[in-house]
Amino acid sequence: MQNSFYREIINDHNLRPLHKHMLPRAQRELRGVNPSCGDDITLRLTVRDGVIEEGAYTGDGCAISQASADMMLDLVLGKTTEEALHLADIFLRMIKGGASAEEIGELEEAGSLIDVSHMPARVKCAVLGWHTLQNLLGEE
């Protein structure tokens, strides 16, 4: 499983991330860390009228943590904060094995991380960005 898993989307998002950069005009930022493995992400967003207009992350960590954050931003940019939280909820349930196929469809590319639900040691990596997003948006 893991072999092919690494070969596809994840490697791409890890090696050639679309959203891994600074965001000078960010309104909000939050750091999320997995102390046990050293995954470390800082998420930055600009929200206007309830819509996530801009977003990016910086950080360091395993392919899964970085790719997952990148896919997440791909998905939530341009969406309302409500929609973003809804998607985060689905993602976290998917990783725990509790989301429907239909819901997973809503996650688009991030749905490919469903494999992590069979890799308990990597769950923390996959959800790091999403938890950080929840905390950042929940902060209002």
């Binding site: 499983m1 893991q2 072999n3 690494y6 070969r7 490697n11 791409d12 890890n14 090696l15 046990s36 493995c37 050293g38 995954d39 470390d40 360091d60 960590g61 395993c62 392919a63 899964i64 943590s65 890799m119 990597r122 990596c125």
Partner: protein
């Protein structure tokens, strides 16, 4: 050593699985003799030791005390009363920190090396916090080596206690404990040696080393989980207050107070893990049967091969090795010096991804901070992969490891 025969002694290794188990510094596999000893104890001698007047309890007591004697002999202690059974090395070290530590005062100094495992670091950091003692750091160089100068410069006339591992669980390097213990004693300090990674891999003699305390775990030396050892010099143990309080460690109890049992019972509160101790004795017997010299020789040879293999892999950096060491440049003995423990990084690939890919190839290595965050901060890495060997590993497993590692960057999407 006939490795094939040795591997047949280990049910998990010989069960037809092709797993290359290279995480021996975390825990070792168990030979049949150990599993049988545990079962035998429960089938023929199971009773609460130390207090029963009936024959079964006497058998349990004898088995337990024979295990203590086997440990005494194994580490060269002067007396079985100096051997305290604990749960693991971590508990052994906490025992010293709580009990001997209670004799420390504000302003006293505790010297700890930056290379320590959290289990030999946090108890002292906490002790300093509780008592107002000062924690002083013994620094290592970029290769992870602690020089005598570095050691001396962390000591002062206020140093009361020095804590150091004999072998680092990240770098595999052996510290010159005999010299350091002598210097510590000259400064008036006691020397606490963490033997978790040394006792399983080299003959350790507490009197030859001159340490005051030695801690180690059964599970890292082919013994069962749940049993550890603290050796302590009798004079020190005698003046230390007990750590845990309860059954079997008292002499008299009244409403007003209590007096304590003699050594070693003073430090063994509650029902002991006699089956665990018996299992540990079986592991010691197993080491003897295979031959400790044989074990050391074989682990040295495997270590050499592993070092050469790893050093030859592009983009791979062994922690504490000279920058850019290359296959041909590896000095003879440089591998054996690491006692089978190699931590490394691979450029551009997070150690978790390395471990995951190796796991897919049936190779078990560890990735993370290895409970040594202070060392990793010192070395400037946040995480590393680690290979750790035992005598039952094979050359073929190490070659498989090398092959697999060579493929990792490609499989992570890099063009080599």
């Amino acid at each position: 050593m006939d490795v094939k025969a040795v591997r047949r002694d280990f049910p998990l290794l010989s069960g037809g699985s092709s797993l290359a188990y290279l995480d021996n510094a975390a825990t070792a596999q168990k030979p049949e003799a150990v599993l049988r000893a545990i079962r035998d104890f429960y089938e023929t001698s199971n009773a609460n030791p130390l207090r029963g007047l009936y024959a079964l309890s006497q058998r349990a007591t004898d088995a337990y005390e024979e295990a203590r004697e086997a440990v005494r002999d194994f580490i060269g202690a002067g007396s079985a009363e100096e051997i305290i059974f604990t749960r693991n090395a971590t508990e052994s070290l906490n025992l010293v920190a709580y009990s001997y530590g209670s004799l420390l005062q504000a302003g006293d100094e505790i010297a700890v090396s930056v290379t320590e495992h959290h289990s030999n670091l946090l108890p002292w950091q906490q002790l300093a916090g509780r008592t107002g003692a000062v924690l002083r750091w013994i620094e290592c160089d970029a290769a992870g080596i602690i020089t005598e100068d570095a050691f001396r410069s962390a000591l002062s006339e206020r140093t009361r206690l020095v804590a150091m591992a004999q072998v680092s669980n990240v770098l595999g390097r052996e510290n010159d404990i005999r010299t350091f213990a002598r210097i510590a004693h000259e400064a008036g300090a006691v020397f606490v040696c963490d033997g978790a990674q040394s006792v399983p891999h080299m003959p350790v003699d507490v009197r030859a080393l001159g340490v005051d305390f030695l801690a180690f775990s059964g599970h890292k030396m082919c013994g069962p989980m749940g049993i550890g050892v603290l050796y302590g010099r009798r004079e020190l143990l005698e003046k230390m207050p007990p750590f845990l309080f309860g059954g079997e460690m008292i002499e008299y109890v009244t409403r007003e107070g209590a007096t304590w049992a003699e050594l070693p019972h003073k430090f063994e509160a509650g029902t002991v893990n006699a089956a665990g101790a018996v299992g540990l004795k079986a592991a010691i017997d197993y080491y003897r049967a295979v031959g400790f010299d044989e074990i050391v020789r074989r682990e040295e040879a495997l270590s050499e091969l592993a070092y050469r293999t790893l050093a030859g892999i592009p983009h791979l950096r062994i922690l504490g090795a000279p920058e850019g060491a290359e296959d041909s440049a590896v000095r003879e003995g440089a591998g054996a010096e690491r006692h089978g423990i190699f931590s490394f990084t691979l450029d551009g690939v997070h150690p978790h991804d390395i471990a995951e890919i190796l796991s897919a190839d049936g190779i078990a290595v560890r990735a993370g901070h290895h409970c040594a965050q202070v060392l990793l901060q010192h070395l400037g890495v946040s995480s590393a992969a680690r290979v750790s060997l035992a005598f039952y590993n094979t050359e073929e497993e190490i070659l498989r490891l090398g092959e697999s590692l060579r493929s990792v960057r490609r499989r992570m999407g890099y063009a080599e």
